[in-house]
């Protein structure tokens, strides 16, 4: 391993924003209490402030405005070593979902998640990405999907869904106004959600289609730290939308997939995009507001889990609540909820990392406790990654709460 490559990446990615974070940290440790992994284990190593120490070390050694002085007087921090970086792998991948909750507790307002992203970029330069994430990120780059859903396979999946759920799955429809994306999790594991999206759009009279050129919303490059993969993924979607002439790109129930195409894509590609990007729930809430989507509420008590990448990192809070209030007669808010909601513990790729399994399950106890305290019979979400984390964890704990996808509920309760 050439540790210098990681250090070079740390330095390259440290601009005014990252540097101001690294400079402002007073090591008060108040971020610890906001982190589910720290709270679940009580291990001080899991405090968010620990996670960016190698980055801070590299910054102070070579990019800090005072670093020439430190070098001149022989007081420059020692170079980050190969061993240190290896030791940090679990802190950067296993015990950080980049949920951003720690920022809310930080008196300096440091966005530690963005520092972890820079750390991941450096780690990926020297092959320190957990093998599960590497495998999926590279599969996404090479096949179009992290689990190998190629364009050819997509056609077959859509055909199967058409037959099984009695819905038309449009693919490569010329000049469709809306390009619909989905994540491989839905293509393979949560096909009822895939079918539900298609049914809703058809019933609303939307001119929509999937594209075999760009159909994968998830972006594992944003988990591994490989910016080139992240760029490739959004490039495919962008080109697909432009070829189609789509006015809108609809991101599915995938928190980071939404952030990837909504907030990251223009910056990764270095240009503005000629279409609007909406999360499916944002779109449904808009239809609801315009009176085009009417719902029949169910007499149930349910709560809503804010996916971190959609809420805290994406800015979508009100729309899902607006839907929930019309989907059930007894909507119950989690405490804390909204922007301070606890992460499910599986985001940022954590749920697929085998070595993180125990920690993820421990952190999920916080989530279970939150849901239990609402007294609701189940929890609704709008992120397939969260859904997978809930499913896997519920199975482990034999937890009996209903886990629902918002899109499926909308499809079920739509009034024509």
């Amino acid at each position: 391993m050439t540790v210098q490559k990681a250090i070079d990446k740390f330095v390259e990615k440290t601009g005014a924003k990252v540097a101001s974070y690294l400079d402002a940290c007073v090591r008060c440790g108040l971020c610890a209490q906001a982190c589910q992994y720290h709270e679940a284990t009580g291990d001080p190593r899991h405090a968010p402030v620990m996670k960016f120490q190698p980055l801070q070390q590299a910054y102070q050694a070579s990019k800090d405005p005072l670093s020439p002085l430190w070098r001149m007087i022989g007081r420059a921090p020692k170079k980050v070593t190969e061993e240190e970086l290896s030791d940090w792998q679990d802190l950067i991948y296993d015990s950080c979902s980049m949920c951003g909750r720690c920022t809310l507790a930080c008196p300096m307002g440091i966005d530690i998640a963005s520092l972890v992203w820079v750390m991941r970029e450096g780690m990926s330069e020297v092959g320190l990405v957990p093998p599960e994430i590497t495998k999926m990120a590279h599969a996404a780059r090479d096949t179009g999907s992290p689990i190998g859903v190629t364009a050819k396979k997509l056609r077959k999946i859509l055909d199967d869904v058409e037959k099984k759920y009695d819905v038309k799955m449009h693919l490569d429809k010329p000049h469709a106004e809306v390009l619909l994306l989905d994540s491989s999790l839905d293509y393979e594991a949560y096909q009822p959600t895939l079918a539900a999206m298609a049914k809703i759009l058809d019933r609303l009279g939307i001119d929509w289609s999937f594209s075999s050129k760009g159909y994968e919303a998830s972006n594992l490059g944003l988990f591994s730290g490989e910016e080139s993969i992240a760029r490739t993924m959004v490039e495919r979607i962008t080109e697909a939308a432009e070829d189609m002439g789509a006015k809108t790109v609809l991101a599915p129930e995938c928190g980071h997939g939404y952030g990837s195409i909504r907030w990251e894509a223009p910056n990764l590609l270095g240009r503005e995009l000629p279409f609007e990007v909406l999360h499916i729930v944002e779109f449904l809430a808009r239809m609801h507001k315009e009176g085009r989507l009417k719902l029949k509420p169910e007499s149930r008590a349910l709560t809503y889990h804010d996916p971190c990448k959609l809420g805290r990192r994406g800015g979508v809070f009100e729309e899902p609540r607006e839907m929930m209030r019309d989907l059930v007669t007894d909507y119950r808010e989690m405490k804390p909820g909204g922007v301070t909601n606890w992460c499910c513990g599986g985001g940022g790729g954590v749920v697929v990392i085998e070595s993180a399994r125990k920690l993820q399950l421990e952190s999920f106890k916080i989530k279970m406790d939150q849901v239990e305290k609402t007294g609701a019979e189940g929890v609704v979400m709008s992120c397939a990654f969260c859904h997978m984390t809930f499913d896997k964890s519920s199975e482990h704990f034999k937890w009996d709460k209903k886990i629902e996808d918002m899109v499926q509920m909308v499809e079920r309760q739509m009034i024509d």
């Binding site: 005014a16 101001s20 400079d23 402002a24 090591r27 720290h38 001080p44 809310l104 910056n267 922007v339």
Partner: protein
């Protein structure tokens, strides 16, 4: 030139110059690094977010304050106490008037003493947490302790000089002030300036996303 004349004269000028130049170098160095403009279509204002982010983080969220209330109370006590005693202590106002020609109404003596006690209590709480809290113990380094102790000594010698019974006590206070000024821009004490940038960057990012957490 005697000891007091030296620490209030040449050494103070040197210390103040180092403080101003190095602090400015560091802040402008941070700003000069630049950042790529965010070209994703905004849902809200980055500028408003910058301001809101700065204001919002002055107040802790209740849920985070519950368990670490002692740290938060200590932090407020120290920072507010220090602000009051520095800007409203009669001797400090006289000192500032001597150099800048401006002055304002000072606190009465009892107010100064109260502010000092509050600041001392806060600083001690923060320092004790450096080794009593497992996270702070793990992440604290020499700089954190030096910064705390220097600030403590500046405040302590300031109180000793309050009676003005011996000129040399004021000289000792000024000596520590000079050392503190020289140390400040090379340490984490710089957070007194850089917090604006840090909170601002986060606030601007959130502001563009149409929220202000």
């Amino acid at each position: 030139m005697g000891f007091v004349g030296f620490v209030e004269g040449p050494l103070f000028y040197i210390a103040a110059a180092i403080f101003a130049l190095a602090a400015a170098w560091r802040v402008f160095g941070l700003i000069r690094m630049g950042r790529k403009p965010d070209i994703s279509p905004p849902k809200g204002s980055a500028t408003a977010g910058f301001i809101k982010g700065n204001l919002r983080h002055f107040l802790p969220r209740g849920m985070f304050a519950r368990r670490t209330w002692i740290h938060i109370v200590g932090g407020y006590a120290f920072h507010l106490g220090l602000f009051v005693l520095f800007f409203f202590g009669a001797f400090h106002i006289d000192f500032i008037k001597q150099y800048l020609g401006i002055s304002w109404t000072p606190l009465p003596r009892w107010g100064f003493i109260l502010a000092s006690e509050i600041a001392f209590a806060g600083l001690i709480v923060l320092w004790v947490r450096r080794f009593s809290d497992p996270v702070m113990r793990l992440i604290s380094d020499r700089d954190d302790h030096i910064g705390t102790w220097l600030t403590f000594l500046v405040m302590l010698t300031g109180c000793l000089a309050l009676q003005q019974s011996h000129e040399v006590l004021r000289g000792i206070h000024m000596l520590f002030v000079d050392i503190w000024l020289i140390y400040f821009p090379f340490s984490r004490l710089m957070h007194a300036f850089t917090f604006v940038l840090s909170r601002g960057h986060t606030g601007a990012t959130y502001g563009r996303k149409g929220m202000n957490p």
